[in-house]
């Protein structure tokens, strides 16, 4: 790849392999739980639950990307990232458990928009081309890393939480670096291929349904955190970062979907933009989506656990 500072993916894979950590590395009973105020607890629980499920959704995205990776090394990196997103979700569940927000064996309920995202991923993700997944996933990661996690660390003063998110942030910075490198590789394709890829996918029901799922999910989370006191500027800065990191690549700007998502991000972060009328009504509408229409929750969604160590085999919820 002819980018100016193209990344050595073998080196990156070695780095990823060398920086593994486990739930057992963290003392979940260390003091600090008392720093969470009573009135903050329900909001924090809802926020963490969303965060945890978004990580899990991201994990599934990487699983799909591993099948499309341009090289075997990148496929292997994605295989690790898939596991690392799962690790983040597990760690966030363990924090919830530490804060006494989960009963034994309890796993927080995913909201309706998460359920929709799961269903979409399970049905379509494996058939999506890399140019779609490779653009949407960095967006989610930047939003997570840049806005949600920073916000959380400002609001929560539990040292264990900080310890956990320091590890998560380190992982995420590697994810973002690879994400944008691959996005740049995607942009390196011929204009003709980019155009064909874009046009043929925009028209697919899969992507239209995907957008219908993505818009309310993003707005629900945005609304939740704004309600919790996040200044919209932070979110704005995170979105700016998506654009900035993208523009750093030599060819990224040529990816049509990158431009679409970039424009969309601008609308999302502007609270006065009429776009929110649409997106928020979609959130409201999704609440009326008949639950009976959901297919059973896929088993990959049930693999999360807060238990650092397992002995025998457990299947289903809370399995490991």
């Amino acid at each position: 790849m002819a980018t100016k500072n193209s990344m050595d993916m073998d080196e990156m894979l070695a780095k990823v392999k060398g920086r593994q950590w486990a739930l057992a590395d963290i003392d979940w009973d260390a003091p600090g739980v008392e720093t969470i105020s009573e009135e903050f607890r329900p909001k924090l629980k809802a926020f963490m639950a969303d965060l945890c499920w978004i990580e899990n959704v991201g994990a599934r995205g990487f699983a799909a990307m591993a099948k499309k990776a341009p090289t075997p090394t990148i496929a292997e990196i994605y295989r690790y990232f898939h596991a690392e997103e799962q690790r983040h979700a597990n760690a966030e569940l363990a924090l919830l458990k530490r804060w006494g927000m989960l009963e034994d064996g309890e796993i927080p309920e995913p909201n309706v928009n998460i359920r929709m995202a799961i269903e979409w991923l399970d049905t379509y993700a494996d058939d999506m081309p890399l140019s779609v997944l490779g653009t949407v996933i960095p967006m989610l990661e930047v939003a997570l890393d840049g806005a949600l996690l920073k916000f959380l660390l400002e609001e929560v003063h539990d040292p264990v939480c900080h310890q956990v998110f320091e590890k998560i942030n380190n992982d995420e910075s590697r994810h973002i670096a690879v994400d944008f490198e691959v996005l740049d590789m995607i942009g390196h394709a011929t204009a003709r291929k980019l155009a064909i890829d874009f046009v043929s996918n925009v028209a697919t029901p899969a992507l239209i349904i995907g957008a219908l799922m993505y818009l309310p999910l993003l707005n629900r989370i945005r609304n939740n955190i704004v309600e919790m006191g996040l200044e919209p500027e932070k979110l704005y800065r995170a979105m700016e970062r998506f654009e900035k990191l993208g523009n750093r690549g030599e060819f990224t700007h040529r990816v049509p979907l990158f431009q679409v998502i970039r424009q969309h991000a601008k609308m999302v972060v502007n609270p006065k933009h009429p776009y929110h009328l649409l997106a928020n009504s979609m959130v409201t509408l999704s609440e009326y989506y008949p639950k009976a229409l959901f297919r059973p929750i896929p088993t990959w969604f049930k693999e999360l656990t807060y238990e650092p160590v397992t002995r025998s085999v457990k299947k289903g919820m809370n399995a490991a």
């Binding site: 593994q20 486990a22 075997p72 596991a83 690790r87 650092p308 160590v309 025998s312 085999v313 490991a320």
Partner: protein, 517 residues
């Protein structure tokens, strides 16, 4: 059984004074080594010696004692056509039965007297002046005009290189070196690997262990294996009418040959085979995500095909779980996966396969001018018809470079290699030659054609497998039908070789090393 060593190994010709030069020395008393000895005897070569590192015959099948160990090629094809076994009990023979058959061969053909047990070859060097091979086995030395390497492709195995391996405090078991004294009953067990051995071990472990966690890196294509008992009546017919058994063998042979159109070459038939594999998953695996985890993303045939009808059901047993997260490290109590969880287990089974020696046998071999085979073969091993390597005269390989079948019985191929070696040895003995050494240009042309033909095969369709060297060169598989391979192996041509003859030397009385013509 007299197939074990009951005697002290006799040192054949220790010391230069009473140096005895055998006509042929065979390395390995496994299936192929014994087959070679049988055919050599049949050709009238009586002065032969077989070196075996263990204390009994059987090779890989002596060592493969893990639960469920069996052949994944139908029994009828898993014997030499010149020494069939009418008594196979099942469609796919368990390892103990194959071992018993090999032991029976050793007895039936009275081969034990020629086997030197507990004799592991450590060095092979060609003595140009004396025109024979000097074979070192520890402190012992053997001499032979010709050598057949029959040490097998799957004879060595070792623990994989995983961080923390040394720290594990539980039981470590290597599939190829099973510890039959360890009782798995009720134990929490981890199995690393999902290849040919694993799909046989896992269903057996699930029956007895408390829990079995299977750690998978890449799923393989699994085809159902219909393993039925052979009715007694059929065994009797095979015994009394060998022609019927030969017919059954031929039918199976050609059925496997047909599969080459999809398993050897990357064609629409490959896609059909994949559809069959997917259908197998669809019909036997209930959960959608598990189906995704088990569906390979490489072309069928690119890695070894797996044959099992009880692997998928075993994975879905209540006490079994498939884990596809990468392993971060091995801990004192078990394993840590990259999803941040630790799995405590009593034992880890490493079903991680064999150390395949693509770079040549695991002992140094020096040739005509002192060159090293291992050096020449590091990276890109090359031989002529998989059997002869230029610069290493009178040396015949079995399971040599580009001799592997992807769709048929290894023994069918081995039989071709044995025939080729015997033809070469007969030529040397009958024409009283000092040595024959395959011509460089003949070997080069052959390999250019091999690599060209390999391009359209499934093995080169983009997966990484033990068939390929690190840089993706295929020096292991034969790109063709077994029929083609056998035809080339039946066609030994002395003109492909540089020949040094005793007659020429006597006639002209010239120094020995100038007699090559």
């Amino acid at each position: 059984m007299t197939v074990r060593d009951d005697r002290r190994p006799t040192s054949s010709g220790q010391g230069a004074s009473k140096r005895h030069v055998h006509t042929t020395l065979v390395i390995g008393a496994g299936f192929i080594g014994l087959g070679t000895a049988i055919k050599l005897r049949e050709a009238g070569i009586e002065d032969l010696v077989i070196l075996e590192r263990a204390d009994r015959v059987g090779g890989t099948w002596r060592d493969a004692t893990y639960p469920g160990a069996a052949c994944d090629i139908p029994s009828q094809l898993y014997s030499f056509s010149f020494a069939k076994n009418p008594g196979w009990s099942r469609a796919y023979s368990p390892s103990a039965e194959i071992l018993a058959h090999i032991e029976e061969l050793a007895e039936r053909f009275d081969l034990v007297k020629d086997i030197r047990f507990n004799t592991a070859v450590t060095k092979l060097a060609f003595d140009k002046r004396a025109a024979h091979w000097e074979v070192t086995a520890g402190r012992k030395k053997f001499y032979a005009r010709t050598v057949v390497v029959a040490s097998g492709p799957l004879s060595d195995a070792s623990l994989p290189n995983i961080a923390g391996l040394e720290d594990f405090e539980g039981k470590k078991v290597l599939s190829a070196r099973w510890d039959n004294d360890y009782d798995f009953t009720g134990k929490n067990v981890a199995v690393i690997g999902t290849g040919a051995s694993a799909v046989q071990i896992i269903p057996e472990l699930v029956k007895v262990a408390g829990s079995v966690k299977v750690f998978q890196r890449t799923p393989g294509w699994v085809m159902p294996r219909v393993d039925v008992e052979t009715p007694d009546a059929v065994k009797q017919v095979f015994e009394k009418l060998p022609v019927v058994q030969q017919a059954a063998r031929s039918a199976l042979f050609f059925a496997h040959e047909a599969a080459a159109t999809g398993l050897v070459w990357n064609t629409p038939i490959t896609t059909l085979i994949q559809q069959a594999g997917k259908l197998h998953i669809r019909m036997t695996v209930k959960d959608k995500w598990l189906r995704r985890q088990l569906t390979p993303d490489f072309r069928a045939g690119c890695k070894r095909m797996l044959m099992s009808s009880d692997y998928y059901p075993a994975l879905q047993a209540d006490n079994c779980k498939l884990i596809t997260w990468p392993i971060a490290k091995i801990t004192p109590a078990g394993l840590q996966t990259c999803d941040a969880l630790q799995h405590e287990v009593d034992a880890i089974v490493f079903a991680t396969g064999y150390d395949v020696h693509l770079e040549g046998p695991p002992y140094p071999i020096t040739g005509l001018d002192g060159q090293s085979l291992q050096e020449e073969w590091s990276g890109h091993p090359e031989a002529y018809k998989s059997a002869s390597a230029h610069g290493y005269p009178n040396l015949f390989f079995t399971c040599g470079p580009n001799s592997g079948p992807g769709h048929n019985s290894l023994l069918v191929y081995a039989q071709g290699q044995i025939e080729y070696a015997v033809s070469g040895i007969r030529a040397i003995v009958e024409q009283d030659l000092r040595w024959i050494d395959v011509k460089k240009d003949v070997q080069d042309d052959y390999n250019v054609s091999m690599q060209k033909r390999l391009r359209s095969t499934t093995w080169m369709s983009g997966c990484s497998s033990w068939y390929l060297t690190k840089d993706g060169y295929n020096a292991s598989m034969y790109p063709g039908f077994a029929t083609q391979y056998l035809r080339q192996m039946q066609d030994f041509q002395i003109r492909d070789y540089e020949v040094s003859s005793n007659a020429a030397q006597r006639l002209w009385n010239i120094p020995r090393d100038l007699t090559a013509v």
